[in-house]
Each structure stands twice: as C-alpha cells, then as structure tokens.
Symmetry: C2
Subunit: 475 residues, 2 copies
C-alpha cells in the first residue's frame, strides 16, 4: 500500500494518539491496533489518513503489519520507537483528546489563557499570606528541617494533625495509620503498586477524574466503569460489575465527586460497602476536595473503620499545588508495606513541603481562609450557573460545594469539538469524554467556576457554541 | 506439624522477612518459598523457628502449604494478609537485613544515633545559608510560584541551568531534553515504568546502591549483577551477562560509584557502550554524586550523546534532601512519553522545591560551598581511612572523591552481625550484602566518612569488632 499524501497535522495527530496509548499502556506491546475504518470513525478523520499514519508507524518500528491480520504494537514500542513530533516549548494544541489532553493543556497553558477546564483554583483564591508566613518561618528552622530526608512515614506533627482533621469527619485514624506522600496522585499510585497485579480489574465511576484512567493504565489494570448518579454509583450496576468482573479495587471520590460535584448518600455508601465486603473488593476513597465541604457528607472510611477502605487526601486544592503533600490512611498492616514501597520508589519523602503544609494548617488563619473560600465558591457557583444557563448550558445538578459544574451543552454539541475551537481562542476546556470510560459524555463539559471570573470567557463560549457545526452523528 | 514454641522475636523476624519480600515483589504471588532448611541457614535461625513462622504465615493466609511440594505465596498475599507486627513509633531494630534495612534504620534513626551507614551528609555540611536565603526570596515570590502546579517538564530556568551544568561535564542536552522529577529515585522509577515490562532483565553492578534492588523488584524485573572493579564493571562479565540474559537495561553510577567510590575509566566506558549498542541495551547513568567530583570523570552520556544512555541527577546530596528535586536527561522522543507518565503518576510536579533548588544553584555562593565541601571531604576521607585501618578495617580503594569508603572487615567478620551489634549501641552501619545481589560482600561495610566525626563512633566500632564472635561459616 503506497502512502497517500495527506494533511500532515491530521496524520501526526493519529500517530500521536497511537503513541500516547502505547506510552500510557492503553495499548500493550503485541496488542492489536484498531482497524483502519474504526479508528478513522473514532478520530473523525478519513481512512487514508489512518492508512498513512499506520504506514509511518510501521516505518519507524512502533507497530508491525501482519498481512491478512492487521496491525500490532511492536515489542518495546513505548521505548525504542522514535516517537512524538517533539515538544516545542508551547502546548500541543492539535493533540488528540485523551486522558492527557486536559492535563497537558491546563498545565502548559500560557498565563493569559483562561482555564475553565482545569482542576484548581486561581492563585488569588488560595491562602497566599499563610504560605508566605510559613516560608519565612521555615527560613529560620533548625538545620535538619532544611537539609535532611523526611522520615519514612513523614512529619509526625502533620500526621497527628491530619488524624485529628479526619476525626472531625468521623474517621478514626492514629498517626501510625497515616503515611505522607508527595501528592494525592502519588498516594493512589503507591496503593496501585501494593494492591494490583497486571491484568487485575479496577472499578471507577463513569464519569470520574480523567487521570484515574491514565494512572490505572500505567499499572496495566483492566478498567471497568460504573455509571455515577447524583447520590453515588448506580448500585445495581455496581453489583453487576462486581459479579461480572471480580474487581480487586474500586476508586472513587465520596464527598464532592469529580467531575459531577455529586455527594454520596448514606444509603448508597452502606450498599457499596456491603457488596465490597461480600466480594473482597478494596476501596480507595479519594477525598482531596474535603476542605471545600460546607456540611459533612458520609465517608466510606468512616462507615468501614479503615478496614477495606483506604482514605487518601492532599492539600493541593485548598492550600497550594506548588508545595505538594498528600497522605494515605489505611489499616496498620498496609501502611508498613506501603512505607517500603515509598522508600523503594521515592526514598525519603519531601520534608520541606510537609513542614510548609504543617505551618499553614497549624496557623489559625487557615480555617478562616476556608470559610471565606467556601462562601466565595458558593456565590460564584450560583452566578456562573446562571450565566451558563443563559447560553443554553445546563448543569446536571447544583453542587452543594466545590468548584465543578458538570453540564450538558446545548443542541447535543460535541464537547471535544467545542473544546478544540475554544482552545484556538485561548480558552482551555474539559470535554466530558475525557472523564468517561464509556465515552458516553460526548455532550458534557466540566466547568471550574473559580476560573470563570473574566467576562470574555462567556463571550468566547457564546461564540464557539453559536458557530456553525457539523451534526454530531456524522461518520 | 505442630508449631513449636520459640523465641517470638526470631519467629517474628522470619515472618517479617517473608512479608517484606512479598511486599517488595521479591516474592510474587504463587512463587515457591525457600525450603525450611535453606531459609534457616540464610537467616541463621533454627529450622524449628522457620517451621513456626511458615505455620503462622499459612494461618493468616499469607502463604499456602502444598503437601509434598512446599510453601507458596498466596495470591494477593501482599495485600490481604494481616501482616507486619506493627510499627511502633521507633525503628525496628530486629528487622532482617534486606535492601530496606539500611534505608529504614538510617531514615528512622534517633537524632542522637550516629549514622556512618547512611548515604547523606550531616546538615552542617550543606549550604544551609543558601537554602535560608532562597526560602526568604520565595516568601516574596509572585502568587503562581506559591500556589500553582509546576509545568509538565518543570521549571524552565532550572532546566536551562541543569543543561549548562551538564555541558560542563561534556554532555550536550537542550532544556527540552530535561524533565524534572521529584527526586533521583523517582527519575529511575519513571524510567523503569517506561522501559520495562514485568519479567524484563536489568543489569546492575555488584555491589550497587541497595535501593536499586528494591526499586527493580517493585517493577517485577529480573535482576542480574555484574562484578564491579575499580575502573567500572568487569567488562568480560558484562559481555557474558548481556549475551546470556539479553537485558533491557543497565543501571549504574559512572562518576563516584556507590558504594565503592570507584570511577569509570574511559576504556571501560567505551567497551560498555559498544556492547550495549550491539545488543540494544539502554543505560541509565545515575549521576547524583556529580557535584562531589574534584576532576571530571568520563560519563557514558557524554560518549553516547544521550542516544541510548539516559542521564539522571538530583540535588539531595550536595544541596538539600529536604526540598527534593531530580531530573532526567534523555533523547527528546523519550522525554515526551516520560512527561505523560509523570502526569499520570504525580500530576504536576513540585514547583516550590524546584524554585528553591534554582534559587540556591543560581546564587553565586553554591560553587564556593562545593569547593569547601570537596576539600573537607578529602581531608575527612584521609583521617577516617587511617582510623579505620588502625582497627583492621581495610579500604577496597582510596576514592578520589565523595563520602563513601568501601571496606573489608578484619578477621572475615560478618558485616551483618557487626551491624546488628552496633545498632544496639546506637550506631547505624551499612553491611556489604545490602549492596550485593550475589551476597558476596559478607565481610564488607560501606562507611560514610562525613558521619564519623564523633570519636565515640570509633570506640563503638572497636568494641563491636573486638567482641567474641561465632566463626563466619557456622551453619
């Protein structure tokens, strides 16, 4: 088959999509690639574009063609191929929308870009004065604080403080049951290392935080989605998924679900735990949005007593994402194995950022900051919700707290198309399918209300939504 | 078989050893355990102690007995068993000497313990004033520095500075070829995720940094050791190992080898690269001790031009281990895949510690600090070497730089026994076999000369070495 000349950017996009899936372990060495027709339909490109991309990937050794059978990922393709049309300094604006799309667009955005798609607050919403004070205090700390590795479990006073804060949410955890990590993401990563064998099945919510997909693929897990309802996972679907797939793990957010803003109800929590107990499923409860909460919602870890539920948290969302620090609370026998894994993979933890977080948390002003922040978010949530509804964008529910609004676009618009157009105008959005394993959130979008303070955000949204567009179901 | 009453601490030690090997993936689910006789000999306990330990591990579901065949690790033993005689606050002084022993003893040591076994400098040897200045500067930084995630590649000015410093060592790397990581260990961990499939073989030096063993086991790699000589790996053994085991990776330190202090010679470097090229072996060159160097030694990455050699470094050893920051320099097509893996497993990197490191490195005083430090280490190395030789402890070579002295103990003393006795006296040592895959360094010990400034260190060493001891080859 002769390669056919095609728009280089589309061919490159297809090649990058495949390389990404290989790098992120969504496609393992030896795996069969999607058929040309199927991939063309999925990526909305012509079959000849896919043909050229596959030919070129064969040419550089990333994939292999087996005549009569199709295309397969080469052994060690993730490492030895000559992949990726490389990293110029700026964001890759033509990258396919996959689990990394939102992450990279948000993290690589220019300072002047608006980022309603990102998952964090603007700096001015964070307790900057507290962080500055804590840094000044640290600059006068004793030498070991500035120079030495952290202890394996991590800074003891911070673990005690985290234990007390968990107690306020009904979760009993002694400081010895708490292990500090570099971040909430790293906490889940360590747990996957401990609990998963390659090929194990993990349940996630559909939709869920998009990075769960990327992280679980890096662990070669089989991922199964359970539809999420306004009160937690759809319990019948959860029971069926457990029976059919015998998962090892279920990863979820209980209080303030990402991306929907939903809150787990006590009755759903109880049922989820009962099913998990009967089938020996371990649950990771990712509670990184805890400090946004205005009234305490149920926690699986509180009902379960940290038996099969592992509770994780971090301070990136309400304190600082620059000085990173997360934690794992679990039963003692797991903490010791996790500590060894932490040493093996990161050696001593970052003591300085733990000291910084402790400094800010133990400063009386942090609680006041949270009160102001929650009120500000509540007001903003209402304003933004109204303005979005004026554009025909409909919230799936009105969240009780947090920064996210999960919305349906008007006219069944394809959120990925809208996100691509918005990006041309300097607006980073988070299209629904980045969160959805089943790709069933095509017309949904997650909005971060704190990042929508500038009026031009709504002007761009209006323009993009009212622009002529191809019907959603074109081939 | 009825369990026989035994000293609980020995039984517990055996149980912990097995659980650790399971947690660290040295023993995978379904793997056969060592025979009772073999384990008893290896751990220097009676066979009845091992019998009781195995019985108890069967009892709690960690392992299974198959009559007539032996004992096997249970499926999911690492996670569901009720393991570990839990973490009281203090260090576990009776823990078996495995790759984690030195790490945990060093990281968990009381402030009053002396730690000639640890791998870092005392705080007073580090550029504390520079760190304090950098913290004060950070306390006045712009808001995003204090609040936002780092960019995927990490702080651009720091990557530029690292590139220039690498240039001084003959390695060409543009800032786009440099990815910041949370630490040197995390850099290797990311690379293992990218490059290894479970079951792949990795070559390491024998002896090598003990944590390489733990880290590679966490990646389910098969580890093969190559004897290390004063000028690099034994090149014939290296060639044989490559031919016999077809390794995917070779991990080494070029300049200032840990634990021996040896330096790679140009001729060995050239031969290693030639063999690696012929057999498509990727090399990770861990250069975290670079700043100790007094005259520049050859780097594999300089000869190879970052083609199949990946160069990693960190600032934990000469700047601060509290504010952690490492880096990976590699060919561009690998950096992009690594960036996705970094996002999947840690999301945004720690911006604050990167800013801190940049602040200290770009402060003119850091170079002056290094000059003073190198001189101080050279003087100390000489004094400590003489004092050790007075105790009959013989250096394997006189290192040209760095903090480590790799020494043979007098009278073929078992270094693990000596380390256990010393620990009772508050002295943390690093016995040779923790570094040796072949367990052929029984009579060796690694000494960190910077941690031997207190005269009582030598008093304790003298006492422990002159105490009556069982002959090395008892059963």
């Amino acid at each position: 088959m002769e390669p056919i000349a095609r728009s280089p950017s589309r061919t490159t996009m297809v090649m990058e999509t495949i390389r990404l899936r290989i790098a992120s372990r969504a496609l393992l060495p030896g795996a069969k690639l999607p058929s040309i027709r199927k991939l063309a339909a999925a990526l909305k490109v012509s079959t000849s574009t896919v043909v050229e991309a596959y030919e070129r990937l064969v040419g550089d050794g990333t994939i292999q063609s087996r005549p009569g059978s199709g295309f397969y990922v080469a052994q060690h393709a993730g490492a030895t191929a000559i992949p990726f049309s490389v990293a110029d300094a700026g964001p890759k604006r033509d990258r396919a929308i996959d689990p990394f799309w939102v992450s990279r667009q948000s993290l690589e955005a220019d300072a002047q870009d608006a980022k309603p798609g990102c998952g964090w607050l603007p700096p001015s919403w964070l307790p900057e004065d507290g962080v500055r004070r804590a840094l000044r205090t640290l600059s006068r700390a004793k030498s070991p604080v500035l120079s030495e590795y952290g202890s394996p479990l991590g800074l003891a006073p911070l673990r005690q403080l985290i234990g007390r804060r968990m107690g306020e949410r009904g979760i009993d955890a002694s400081p010895d049951q708490i292990l500090l990590s570099e971040s909430g993401t790293q906490a889940i990563d360590l747990l996957c290392r401990l609990l998963l064998e390659p090929g194990d099945t993990v349940l996630v919510d559909d939709p869920c935080y998009f990075n769960f997909h990327a992280l679980l693929r890096a662990h070669r897990a089989k991922i199964v989605g359970v539809p999420y309802t306004p009160t937690g996972p759809d319990i019948d679907a959860f029971a069926t998924a457990v029976a059919d797939h015998r998962p090892r793990l279920y990863i979820t957010n209980s209080a303030i679900h990402n991306p929907t803003g939903a809150i787990l109800s006590p009755v759903t929590a109880h049922r989820v735990l009962k099913i998990a107990e009967q089938s020996n499923v371990v649950i990771i409860e990712d509670d990184i949005f805890a400090d946004f909460e205005r009234s305490p919602a149920p926690r699986l870890a509180a009902f379960d007593g940290l038996d099969r539920v592992i509770h994780i948290g971090s301070f990136s969302k309400t304190l600082s994402a620059s000085g990173r620090c997360g934690f794992i609370a679990a039963k003692p026998e797991w903490i010791d194995s996790l500590t060894d894994l932490k040493i093996a993979t990161t050696f001593g933890g970052g003591r300085l950022t733990a000291e910084l977080v402790y400094g800010v948390l133990s400063d009386g002003s942090y609680r006041k900051h949270l009160e102001v922040l929650r009120q500000r978010l509540a007001t903003t949530m209402q304003t933004v919700s109204t303005r979005l509804q004026n554009l025909g964008v409909t919230p799936w529910l009105e969240p009780q707290a947090g920064m996210f609004l999960w919305c349906r676009l008007p006219d069944d618009r394809d959120a990925a198309d809208v996100a691509r157009s918005a990006l041309q105008r300097g607006l980073v959005l988070a299209p629904g399918n980045a969160f959805s394993l089943s790709q069933s959130a095509t017309t949904f979008m997650r909005f971060n209300v704190s990042q929508m303070q500038e009026p031009h955000v709504f002007d761009i949204l209006r323009d993009v939504l009212s622009a002529p567009h191809a019907p959603k179901d074109r081939p």
